[in-house]
Amino acid sequence: MIRKLIQVEFLKSKRKGFWLLVFLGGFGVVALQMVNYGVRKEYLLQQSDNDWIYYLMNISNFTPLALVLGIAILTSFMTSIENETNAWKQLIALPVSKLTVYLAKFTVLAFMLLVASLLLTLFTYGYGVFLDLGAIPYGALLKYSFYPFFASLPILALQLWIATVSNNQAIPITTGVIGVLPSFSAQNLPDWLIWKWPSLMNSWNEPIYYVWLGLGVGCLLYFVGMFDFARRDVK
């Protein structure tokens, strides 16, 4: 059943511009560095001995912003497919469990974010090679592309929950706007704040912790959202 529901979610996401946004997310972050290095390459290369890592750091300044806001946009789009014409009642009156419907939406969203992270890796790699920055640090490249994805799973779970239960999409969009602020000024904030996690900055200096925390807390928030969704009457 879950496989069929996921197929249906993909079918419904046609012509909604999801894939364009996924592309823009992955590409946009690198495009900003194209402008940055295009304008002042000499200056930037002088800033560090390890040009590749410095380049990756520059990119990873923007990855959390794109992730947090991208999550807010994609979840709102995803739930508006049903919210806009009150199609929840049609969907839930089919022989499906509400839990599976919720899981299908979450899975499709997580998949889209994963594709965006993959695109980010490819574009980062491509432009890095173009800039000719020296030996390619593959480990760091993958780390800065995929760790933020796992670290942002709690945000995805939370935003999906808020977006499905809100009549008014202003609410999930506003939580997205609030959520982006910590990822932009992360240094001074406490480590428990989930919106800080995609920036991979923490007091232990161990970005991998946020991957595990992201998976754990993401699951937890996912279940809370799913059971709350199942508990509610369908409008």
């Binding site: 823009l24 202003a170 602020l181 904030l189």
Partner: protein, 240 residues
Amino acid sequence: MLAILRSEIFKFRKANIWALIFVGPVIAIFAGLVDSGELPVNSWVYTVLMMNLVYAVLFLPLITGVFASIVCRYEHQAGGWKQLLALPVTKGRVFLAKYLLLVSLVFLMQLLYLGAIYLVGNMQGFAEPFPLEIIWKSVLGGWIATFPLIALQLWLAIWFKSFAAPFAVNVIFTIPTILALNSEKLAPFYPWAQPYLMMNIGGKVDAMFFVPWDQLLIVVGGSFILFFLGGYFLFNRKAF
């Protein structure tokens, strides 16, 4: 005209989410209190710089888009546009009324932000008197800098039925602000960077605003004319 504006205000009040104008100032208070470690220079100035970083770079441009989508929400639901436009009103006035409502909301939010700064300063017991003139300039300048952004967001909010679509465009333009602000060459020309620049105290105090007049007129004024007229004429031509 006044009647349309009143009706718009009524609808917005009934939307039960006018409380959103408090969100920014409240976050700014937290931002002001978190950074209370070492205070270099004038403590008021330092606090405002810290609060601006959180409030004006991303939050202010992004929230204008949320407001714009809210004031068009009723009309997008269940064919409200044709209901509204079948009343004895001109499309131009409807557009103007919605625009004025948005501008007033942002003004209210700016006033609350001013209050937030005052509150933070008092909570921290700053010795210096509240530099009202400087902060007022900052708040007013930030408000003016949002005029073009509000116009574009209103245009998009009318255009797209979905709530998230205008916001997506807003995000695409707002994120590069951070990059633009890093470059002294680019920043003055990027409309989405203007709210922060015009709120960024520390420029010439004797000037009217914290950015030069020609930058204000050309970048803010120019983009305002472009976005406002674009939205205005496309709204007039759009069939509902």
